[in-house]
Structures are given as C-alpha cells and as structure tokens.
C-alpha cells in the first residue's frame, strides 16, 4: 500500500508538484471539470504580499492605495495576525495560480486542487465570467494600462494622474455595465484604436457643448430636453464620454479604471459560489487521492486541519464572528447539493423535486454554470442547511426602538431566511443605487445624480467626498439628490465648482 504513496515527507520539490498536479488533473478530468491550462508559479511570502496588494494581478499600474494595502498586509503578517491566504489565482488564460515557497507539499497539493482546478473551472464556465470577462486578454490589457498610465505620469506629472485615479477609484463600483455586454478586451486593439478614440471623443464632446442656438429659439426648445434621456447607471462611462473638460488622456485613464472594474465585477457577485466550488473540489479531489491510496494518513490529517479552519463558521455571539464565512456557506451548500442528489430525504424531494436523486456531477455543474450568489442561494439553500447553520434573521428598522427576530430555522422561517440571505448577496441592494439623472446643458452645465433610496437607507458620510471626486472629473457643479420612498426628492449633497 505505502509503495503507492506519492510523497512521504512534507518537503516539496518540483517533481512532486508535477506528480500531484498530474494525479489531480486526472481525477478532475474524471469528474468532468473543464479548465483553462494551468500556470503554477512558485513564489516567496514577500512576493505573495506583493500579489495581494495589487489585487492579485500579476501587473498593475502604480497607485498609493496599493501601497497602503501592501503595508497593511505586511504589518498584519509580520505580527502574526494573519497567515497569508495560501492561494491567489488569476482569472486569465492560462490560469495563473501561486504556490508559496514556505508551504508543505500537502498545502501545495491543496492549493493546486483548490485554485488550479476548482477556481479555474469556475472562471472558465460560470456565465458571469463568460459574459463579462475575457481571460485571454486581461494580462495584456493590464500591461497596456500600466504602460499608458506610466506615460501619462511622465507627460503630465504623477500628482495629476494620482488625483485622477483617486477620483476614478471612488467611482469604481459605478463603472460597470450591468446589462449591456462589454466588448472584448484586446490590448493590441486598444493600442491601435486608442489614438483614434482620443480624437473622436474630443470631437464628440465639443459637439455636445456647441454654441447655443439663436436666442429666440431657446425660449421654446430648451425647456425640458433631458440629457441623458434615460438615467445612466455607469457613471464612469458617462463621464468618460461626456465630461466637458477632460483631456483625451484623462478619458483614457477613466476608461482603464472602468475596464478593470468590469473585470472584477463577476468576482464580487460570486464569492460564495466561487469559494464554495473551489473548496468542494479540493475536498473531493484530495479525498479521491486518499481513496486511491496515493496519499497517506499524515497527509490527510494535515489537509483536513487546514480545510476545517477554512470552513469554520463562528456563531453570531462568538468573538470571532465577522459575518457569514463565504467558504463555509459555499462549501456547505455544494456538499449539501451532492447529498440531495445522492441521498435525498422526503423533505428534499418536496423542496427540490427536480434534482433530488439526479446525477450529482451534472447538477453541480449546472449550478456552477448558471448562477451567481444571490440566485444560487435563492435556488439551492435547503432547510436542512438552514437548520445546520441555525440561521436566523434580524429585522432592524430605525422607526422602531427594538430589533425583531423576523425568522428562525423553523418551518415558517425557511423561505423567509432563504430570501433575506439571498438579498444580502444582491449587489443591487448592497450598494446604493445612484444614477446620472440630468445634465444642465444650456445653463451652468451642472450634473445631477439621483440616489434612489432602498428601504429608506441613507448614504453614509463618505458621499460628500465622492461628490467632490465627481466634481473633479466633471469640472462643473455636481449635485446628488435622494429620491425618498414617499416620492419626494431631496438635495443631499452638492459640490459647487
């Protein structure tokens, strides 16, 4: 039996990594995991911290906020407050996964299974990633962006570029097309068309602000011609195309930030699923290795120890509680799905008539391809899991003095909890809804944004700062008004220029 073991000691070597990768790849293929080719890179802890701070990208432009992130990570790591996450994986083709030099061979195998097969297959097949990101081009595009921004810094000064990036970063979450599919990224094309675009855009903008029509006409026509004709949710896009005073290079930088935001948009919406999927697969793949006798008990104990840490979910009253752990929830849901397929109970048959008793590999694959966190939870969170997690829902209404427990893990509460948990992962309600509402084209050129309140929730204090950032980009007065639930409109923020 022991003769079959891939490794005996905890030291890793390149040969061992390749062997583990080979075995894991074989098993993954057996389960039908469809992945990009892998590029596994061995790096040091220091390099891992570097990777962290540039949001995991292998190249990125320079900005102080990445430095801040780096210092934060470094400080916590050095003081032992956190271990480095043992994996970073990049949604690119080939899929880049980092292994840290300090890890044991067990951890390396775990990371290979988790990142290079779990995340990788998710990136390749989930509909959000397929629709919104372009794994083939991202690294090239970032190279282009970095070079372009570096050039701008030389030409226009670091300070100037930094201010612009600050403003763009503030709006990053609002630089995303939610409904319209973005065009494919291609660095080469970007470079070729960038000059063209500069000229074209400038001419468009000038056109927008063309001299006023003769006086006599104004009285009749200018009354209410709304611009934009429909409210615009992609603030950065609108600014890129329409801000009157931006120079061409500034528009290009706005565009770069927007593209990067778009790239990360699916990741923000699939945290539970993505981590759950990857965790489920590392668990399944490594267990299969064990069943085949390729790894020993020592390996499994080390693996299970870190696996258990990752999927631990402290209770709400624990001092370690900081919200629901996406690894825990995701892993539990994926495992539960498999259980529903393999050993359904009557309750499962009642709740999930379509999938109870079906082929689990196919069911999981379908779930992975076609959902995001919100819909995944709404679709698949089972009563059994709600009981296992002892989930309960708290209603906090500022018009009442007390909080109310609106649902717990009982027959009456399942649907309620499932719905509010799904809602918790809905980006649309998690982030305030703010759209470009009007531009005063014939007067002071001021820009009006409208915040449509959700459940009477106001904006927090940072809105003031952001309005200033928008004003910097727009160049003229910016107002932010809130549409309250009683249909009143209230001007909440204003930055005069």
């Amino acid at each position: 039996m022991t003769a079959k073991l891939i490794s005996e000691s905890s030291e890793w070597t390149f040969e061992l990594i390749e062997r583990y990768d080979g075995e894991i790849a074989r098993i993954a293929a057996g389960y039908g995991l469809d992945t990009y080719p892998n590029q596994i890179e061995v790096i040091t802890a220091e390099q891992m911290m570097d990777a962290y701070s540039s949001v995991g990208m292998p190249v990125n432009y320079h900005h102080w906020s990445f430095g801040k992130q780096f210092l934060g990570v470094e400080q916590r790591y050095k003081r032992g407050h956190m271990g480095l996450a043992y994996e970073i994986v990049i949604n690119s083709n080939p899929c880049i996964a980092y292994l840290m030099e300090e890890n044991t061979i067990t951890m390396q195998a775990l990371v290979i299974a988790h990142a290079a097969y779990g995340h990788n297959s998710f990136f390749k097949n989930n509909y959000l990633f397929q629709t919104w990101t372009n794994a083939d081009a991202i690294v090239d595009y970032l190279l282009f962006a970095r070079k372009y921004i570096a050039e701008c810094e030389q030409r226009h000064g670091e300070k100037e570029v930094e201010l612009l990036l600050d403003s763009c970063h503030a709006l990053m979450n609002y630089g995303v097309d939610r409904y319209k599919r973005p065009s494919r990224l291609s660095a080469e094309q970007e470079r070729r068309r960038q000059k063209e675009r500069e000229d074209y855009r400038q001419s468009q903008v000038n056109d927008l602000w063309r001299t006023l029509p003769p006086r006599k006409e104004t009285a009749s026509t200018h009354d209410e011609q709304h611009f934009p004709s429909e409210p615009q949710e992609n603030l950065l896009y609108f600014i890129e195309k329409n801000a009157p005073l931006l120079k061409p290079w500034q528009r290009e930088i706005v565009r770069i930030v927007r593209k990067v935001a778009q790239y990360f948009y699916p990741q923000r919406q699939t945290q539970v699923m993505n981590e759950g999927w990857a965790t489920f697969w590392h668990y399944t793949l490594l267990n299969t290795l064990y069943d085949e006798g390729l790894v020993g008990d020592g390996f499994m104990i080390e693996f299970l120890q870190s696996h258990t840490n990752v999927v631990a979910q402290p209770a709400y009253d624990s001092q370690y509680y900081s919200g629901i752990n996406p690894y825990a929830l995701g892993f539990a849901m994926m495992t539960d799905l498999r259980r529903i397929c393999e050993k359904p109970t009557d309750e499962d048959r009642h709740w999930f008539p379509d999938i109870a008793g079906s082929d689990w590999v196919k069911t999981l694959d379908f779930a992975m391809r076609n959902f995001k966190d919100e819909s995944f939870i709404a679709q698949y969170l089972s009563p059994r899991l709600i009981r296992e997690f002892k989930l309960f829902s708290v209603l906090d209404d500022d018009s009442r003095d007390q909080l109310e427990i609106s649902a717990i893990h009982d027959e009456k509460g399942y649907r309620n909890i499932r719905q509010s948990l799904a809602e918790q992962y809905n980006l649309g309600s998690r982030e305030p809804d703010i759209q470009i509402y009007n531009v005063n084209r014939r007067g002071d050129r001021s820009l009006t944004l409208r915040h449509t309140q959700y459940n009477r929730r106001p904006l927090d204090g940072s809105a003031d700062e952001i309005v200033k950032h928008i004003a910097r980009l727009w160049g003229f007065t910016v107002r932010l008004e809130s549409a309250l639930e009683n249909d009143n409109i209230e001007l909440t923020h204003e930055c005069r220029v």
Partner: protein, 427 residues
C-alpha cells in the same frame, strides 16, 4: 497542460513604488506621527524603525455605501434561543448586531498601522535638517589623507618596485636591442653552411672558401658577444607602484554633552535634556561614520562620566558652569586634535550659575572653545526668567554664528527647538 514556473528569483519588491507613493502622499501625517514618537522614546528605541499609526479616516478611499438607518434585514448563524417575534434591544452601534469585528488586540480599528523602516524613519525625522554650513566646515577640515594607487612611475623606492612590470619592460628592451644582431647572425650562419667544402673541388677554390669561412666565423663570434653584452635588466626598465595621497573629509566627530546636575536640575529636566542629546547624537550619527560622545556633568566641579552616571546619578551643590567648559577644553586639547575631529557640543542647564562665573564662561567660550568647535548648542530648560548665564551666552551668540541657544520648557518643546537649532540655512 500545466506549466510549473519558479518565480522566486523574480523581483521581490514589486510594491516598492506603491509603498513610496503611499508614504509621500501621507507625509504630513506620517511626520506628525514621527514627531510624536520621538518625544516619547529612548535612544536605543530610536535606532529601530517605527510603527506608525495614522487615523484611518485621513486615508480612507471613499465609496458609496449605505449609512446607518432605514430598514434592513440581516441573517446570522448560530441561533441558540431566539424564536420568531422576539424583540431585543438595539445594540449601541453597528446596525443589526453586526457584532464587533474580532478585536485585533488593542489596536484601535480607526487607526491604520504600519512599520516604517529605520531609514525611512530617520529620513523623515531629519528631513530638511542639516548642520549649519556643514559643507563649509567639512571642506575646512580636509586635513586627513588617504593614499590610493595611481598607476606606475619610473622612479621610486626599491620596496615599491613592481616586478612584473619591470621584467616585462626588460624583456621588451632585450628583444628590441638584439634584433639587428640576431638577423645578421642568422644570415652569417646560413652563408657558412653554404661554404662547407665539397669533395673534388679545385685547391685554390678551396683556399678562397677557407678564408671566407674564417671571416664568417669571426663575425659570428663577434655578433654573439654583442648579443650577450645586452644587460638582462637595466635601471631604465624599473617600474615602481605609484601611490598618491588624496585628501578625505574627516568622518569622525566627537560630541560633548554638558549638563548641570546640581540640585536645581530635577529628574524631569534631566529627562528633557537627555532627549535633546539624543537628537543631536542621532543627527551626527547620520553624518559621520564614527562618533565619540563625551559626557561632562558638573555642579561646582566638573567630571567626565559614562552615560549611565551622566543621566542617573544625583549630586547636590551649587553651580559653576565654567568648570565644565574648562574640562571640555582640556579634553579637546589632550584627546581630540582639531585637524582630525569634527567637534560638536550640546549643553543643557536650568540657567543657574554663580553670577560672577558667567562672564568667565563667556570668555572661555569666545577665546578658546568656539574656535575649535563646529557647533555649540545651548538649551535652557526653565519656564522662569533668564539669569546672568543666558545674557552672557547671548553675547557669544552675537559674535559666533555657530553658537545657538534656545529656551525650552517641556519635552514637547524639544523637537521644534531642535529643528530651529539645526535648520537648513539657505546660503
């Protein structure tokens, strides 16, 4: 399908640029933190980097977010005893009982903490500080020389002979001088071989060739002698290693710390004085490779002591400042020749002195001490009115530009005073 790449040797400091940008952007906040740190630290701590705390709000990156208020529903795990419809008191903060984030051991969550390296710390600490006229005094004290290699010379002392160079020259000379002789020698030998007697030749022909052979042999002997006469080595061939002296700026400094330890200097004042000395020490450390510190304490008499005793022992008695100045002058004369040492002095006192001693101090300073010093800084640690010593020192300051004096009241004043003393002078 899978490619494994070893990237460990790739650049490590990808984030260095971003880190620098961060520090530059928050320079004012970081500098404030540095200044705070200095006022509450000891000399051995100062050698390390510094943990800097910056209020997180100063450096937040704003994004649109929901603020508190309105209606929200949150799902939490781990229910133990709630049932539907329970009402609970609203926790003081954080909306729907988000629960405190795991406290990270006493660090305020409002602060962003990070470590400055020692270099970064000192750089910020000393920024736009420089000793007055530093460049000038350095140039003026260019009295130390270092001998460096500077090629070869044809003339020198035997111990400096460079054998390889000399023999190479000799070989070249020998080859050159013997060249023409060697050529002739080869020709003569060839002719000689051609004239070897051939059997069956006529007698008189034989005689002619015998004569020629004799002449040739004579020539060959002569040529060989000429060649042998070329000397193996000649004085002309000798090469010597050449060394020249280059002036180097003196990289050592001595710092005199003078302090009044009479009864009127209490612990708090001593502590303040100590911090002042620390700052001067650190600054010198940055500019000089080697620094010696001489501690001189005094009441009515002065004594050179070690650092511990300097700061911690207590004496009582009156105050005679000139005793310390005299001791310092003696020490300079005995141990620190002005040509080799940059000298700095820092004096801390509460301003007490015997009235008739103060003019003596002034004369001592003006006539004997100030001429050898680079800089003399005097701080008076007192909230009270100045006494005679301050006035007399004032006159010194009028005459000597490298004499500075300041009054400080508490530890918080030190840093600004220090900056004032060593402000970068615009020339």
């Amino acid at each position: 399908m899978t490619q494994v790449i070893d990237r460990r040797l790739n650049g490590r400091n990808k984030s260095a640029v971003n880190r620098q940008r961060f520090i530059r952007r928050f320079k004012s906040q970081i500098k404030r933190a540095v200044a705070d740190a200095v006022s509450s630290r000891h000399i051995d701590d100062i050698d390390d980097g510094e943990k800097i705390n910056i209020p997180a709000r100063d450096m937040s990156e704003p994004v649109f977010q929901h603020g508190p208020g309105g209606r929200r529903e949150a799902v939490h795990p781990g229910n133990t005893d709630f049932v539907t419809g329970d009402r609970i008191k609203r926790p003081p903060q954080g909306g729907a009982g988000q629960g405190g984030k795991a406290g990270n051991s006493g660090e305020g969550e409002d602060d962003f903490a990070f470590q400055l390296s020692r270099e970064e710390f000192l750089e910020l600490f000393f920024e736009d500080l420089a000793l007055p006229d530093l460049v000038k005094t350095q140039l003026a004290t260019l009295t130390d020389f270092k001998s460096v290699r500077a090629g070869y010379t044809s003339d020198g002392v035997p111990s400096n002979i460079n054998i390889v160079r000399s023999l190479r020259g000799a070989l070249a000379r020998r080859i050159a001088l013997r060249g023409p002789h060697m050529q002739r020698l080869r020709e003569a030998k060839a002719e000689l071989t051609a004239l070897q007697p051939v059997p069956g030749t006529v007698d008189d022909e034989q005689q002619t060739s015998d004569r020629q052979v004799a002449a040739l042999e004579e020539e060959i002997r002569h040529l060989k002698r000429r060649i042998e006469a070329i000397p193996f080595i000649d004085t002309f061939d000798l090469r010597y290693n050449n060394r020249i002296k280059q002036p180097v700026p003196s990289t050592q400094a001595v710092m005199f710390c003078l302090m009044d330890v009479s009864g009127s200097m209490d612990e708090i004042r001593k502590d303040t004085a100590k911090r002042f000395f620390i700052l001067l020490y650190l600054f010198l450390k940055r500019n000089y490779e080697r620094i010696e510190v001489v501690f001189i304490r005094h009441h009515t008499t002065a004594k050179e002591v070690d650092e511990d005793e300097f700061f911690h022992s207590r004496e009582t008695g009156g105050t005679v400042v000139s005793s310390a100045l005299e001791l310092m002058h003696e020490t300079i004369r005995e141990r620190y020749p002005a040509s080799e040492w940059n000298m700095y002095a820092a004096q801390a006192s509460d301003g007490d002195n015997w009235d008739n001693d103060s003019p003596k101090c002034r004369d001592l300073l003006l006539n004997r001490i100030m001429p050898c010093l680079q800089y003399f800084a005097y701080v008076e640690i007192t909230p009270d009115r100045h006494q005679s010593l301050w006035q007399e020192y004032g006159r010194v300051a009028d005459i000597c530009p490298h004499f500075a004096m300041q009054q400080i009241e508490s530890a918080q004043d030190i840093y600004p005073v220090f900056r004032e003393l060593f402000r970068k002078r615009v020339t």
